[in-house]
Symmetry: C2
Subunit: 519 residues, 2 copies
């Protein structure tokens, strides 16, 4: 890519043209085709602050400085994804972004932003020449699922912070944001039928100081809380939707449920837990397997599905120790009733109850790779975090898979050495280079099953990440690298070229106020 | 050994003499020396039933058919053991048993019983010639600690049953009986200061049917209980003492405490447990580490030490999961107060509190090999069950050791194949041959530390052994083999010879009503 062009992720095809185009105070945005007008408004929202220009947005084939044209209609595939291809042409006459649908246009305008001088990202008027080089871009992503996860349970972030984070994902043409809404340490989403989930479950008395492995444990003795009302969820969903980012909500079950069990003890097996969990690690406490608990979780998922229109509903399923079920006479009796032979089958049964319900609502269940244990319902998708093996097994058995192996794409892990010079993290070491070198398509997966790999995703678990500044420090620039891994064909990846573009891209992140990890 | 002589364990030195001696209705027992009279009475108790003879017992050097002579005084070593050597001479003039002390005499009379026709073991008068071959026996045990353990918690046995079991141990010249008195499934010893330990802790609502690993679990819904009053403990202690068998009481801590925690919830970390445990396996629940709990356990040990005069007090220490302590804010705070760095050190601290108290009472603490973890107080002894390694490590660091490796001397394990033809057992396979082949002195233990190996012990854990008949089935004849392993020098062991003697010995076991595993 020419030195002056530093788009991340790199577009599939880019040819320099002759000439240039400069935006000015009379530049307009003209939109045509289904959904294009909204994209035009989004583009104007992006361009106005730094330029000070009005960028009036009009509908129709009237000539515009910047023309956004949706040529057809979005037709979601069985996984809910649409064609995201676009072309972006800049010449002496102006700017043209074309795609089949508004999603493709939305991807295109992110590349358009990155064609401008980096100062376009500023939130106040900049003195600059808003010059666009003449280019012809034809672009399409390699993977359909290009996601970033954020754990809002272990630490909580405001609506504005989450939306800003989503906007940063949009800049990188990611299309999925997975919100880990509930865990032992806090239930973060209002459920109207069960108000105690947030009245009680959203607050913990205290938070661990230092690392989970430190002994003796020390606590800050400071209450911590927060949750999103349903109105606030709608705000976040709408914000993401305007950027054609699908939110994947996660209600992690049957483990990671201490907050819920404290709020509603009838959900649990024993009366072990006395409070919302104040430290990290894996709790022994899991949901019981009474019909009432199944009904409760369906009620929760019903409200979640009403709030989140995306196809996939994440039910977690990870790290559910089988200890309580093996000790509980009631759980053993249920196993006998249901003709199940061990606790793995019991978890499988539990997940299948959720899968039936979610499928009957026209959605699809996705869970962490543990949901393979004991047998998995056909339509369920798997998010492979304990390495690639779960993903390979799932895909080989006909399940759709998102690759999220903790060894490669966990951005809560350290990113550079010596780790002593970095803020305390959970552990690990995942450098920018290793992220860029990652390929989500497992070598070991046979060709005929490869179509099941929907894509990949980065994770940010926030046990040791209490502020959005820290989230950004951990997320960027690694999210930039992963975005390119997920967008660009493997053969076209070039780390040296990426580093060169990243150098310029950091100026954008600075203007945007992203607290990225330094070079 | 001549075919007509089948003593188990085999004496160290035995020479045949000329002649023989026959007991008859005018035979007498004459005793001289410290403690010999009581041994004389014990011998009479053994000989009267089958012979119908009176066997008057007299004190003094007056001539007797059977003369028992203690030449000196028992002088216990630092581990509380005395010299057990004896000589046993039979000639035309009569029978003479000599030893330094009454313990040696007691060992001698067991060999004397086994010199008689096997019918001597009958509990009703037998028509037989009570002929003793002329022999000269000089005998001494290889190891000082020759023990057999019995778990009276998982299943309970009456005073009479336990005493009869002890009498069978005495026949085999064993000198230690280790009673596992308390566990998750039942607290079996009355503690006057804490009556709920038995009022509540000695009863469980139900018992698992089948194996711990079966799923789903099934329960018999039948209450189960039992415990020994302090009076009954005294009866057992006295019965054993007359046979110069030392009882080693075990109060297993800080794990294996569910029954106590149900009785006194202030002993626990959480309110997890709802009832005395009704199935097997390892419970997560352990004692908390409050000063009040330390004091409670000292009170318990005080009453135990008042009942059991033996030198060693067993405090268990096995299989205490560290989970609750790592989760409990109070336990973590105690760790901080005490300057401890992890939960292993916390257990080590706990054991040291008990060790100090036991040592101050003039006794010695012994525990399972986990008590090495985190550091062990100098005078404490270790019972190595998880293999030999714990024992080797303990001895190498100057601790006395009893070898009880589960792979070699756990008599709750299957004893023959195919195991499908045997009653349900916990697992494993420990044949009679493998017991006989066992050597308690670890090869890997350097010469200079070998004096720390006090001896060895068989174990009978009773999860799957609900009756004394079944205890006998599992214990015999493997206890016979182990008794010889512990008594006889390794070089003198001869399995073929042992089998030959066992063939005859089985007649004794039959007369005694021992439900031994058949050939």
């Amino acid at each position: 890519m020419p030195e002056t062009i530093s788009i991340i992720p790199r577009p599939k095809y880019l040819r320099m043209g002759n000439g240039r185009f400069t935006l000015n105070q009379v530049s307009t945005i003209a939109c045509s085709g289904e959904g294009a007008l909204a994209v035009g408004h989004l583009l104007a929202y992006y361009l106005r602050p730094a330029t000070g220009f009005a960028f009036p947005v009009t509908e129709g084939h009237a000539s515009g400085t910047i023309r956004l044209e949706a040529t057809g209609t979005a037709t979601p595939d069985e996984a809910g994804f649409v064609d995201e291809r676009y072309t972006l042409t800049v010449n002496d006459a102006g700017v043209s972004v074309k795609a089949q649908n508004a999603t493709g246009l939305t991807r295109g305008i992110q590349s358009l932003r990155q064609l401008l001088p980096t100062a376009i990202m500023a939130d106040a008027v900049q003195e600059a020449e808003w010059v666009l080089p003449a280019v012809e871009i034809e672009d399409a992503p390699r993977f359909r699922w290009r996601g970033q996860h954020l754990d809002v349970s272990r630490h909580f972030f405001t609506v504005d912070e989450v939306c800003q984070f989503i906007d940063f994902l949009a800049l990188h043409r990611l299309n999925i944001c997975h919100l880990h809404l509930t865990d032992d340490q806090g239930w973060r989403i209002e459920i109207k039928k069960y108000p105690r989930l947030t009245e009680i479950g959203s607050r913990r008395e205290s938070t661990l100081i230092g690392h989970e492995s430190d002994r003796p444990r020390r606590y800050d003795q400071t209450p911590y809380g927060g949750f999103y009302t349903q109105e606030e969820i709608k705000q976040i969903v709408d914000f993401a939707a305007r950027r054609h980012i699908t939110l994947v909500p996660e209600i992690d079950m049957p483990g990671h449920m201490v907050a819920a069990i404290i709020a509603y003890p009838e959900l649990g097996n024993f009366k072990t837990e006395t409070r919302v969990r104040c430290h990290w690690g894996i709790s022994q406490s899991v949901l019981n397997v009474e019909e009432s608990t199944i009904a409760f979780m369906k009620d929760v998922l019903a409200e979640v599905m009403a709030l989140f229109p995306g196809r996939f509903i994440h039910v977690g399923g990870d790290e559910a120790p089988k200890f309580e079920w093996s000790e509980s006479e009631r759980a053993q009796a249920r196993m006998a009733e249901l003709g199940l032979h061990n606790e793995e089958e019991l978890q499988s049964w539990f997940i299948r109850q959720m899968d039936s319900y979610i499928a009957a609502s026209g959605r699809r269940l996705i869970g962490w790779d543990e949901i393979l244990e004991g047998g998995l319902a056909a339509g369920a998708a798997v998010m492979s975090w304990r390495g690639e093996e779960g993903g390979i097994e799932a895909a080989s058995h006909g399940h759709d898979v998102v690759m999220a192996p903790n060894q490669r794409v966990y951005f809560d892990h350290y990113q550079s050495e010596p780790t002593a010079n970095e803020p305390l993290a959970i552990g690990g070491l995942t450098t920018l280079a290793s992220v860029y070198a990652y390929d989500p398509m497992p070598e070991a997966l046979s060709e005929k099953h490869r179509h099941h790999v929907l894509g990949g995703q980065g994770q940010i678990w926030t046990e040791y990440i209490p502020t959005m500044e820290h989230v950004e420090y951990m997320g960027f620039p690694r999210i930039c690298a992963l975005a390119e891994v997920l967008w660009l064909e493997k053969e076209r990846k070039d780390y040296a070229d990426f580093r060169q573009r990243l150098y310029r891209h950091r100026e954008r992140l600075d203007y945007l106020g992203v607290n990225a990890h330094p070079e």
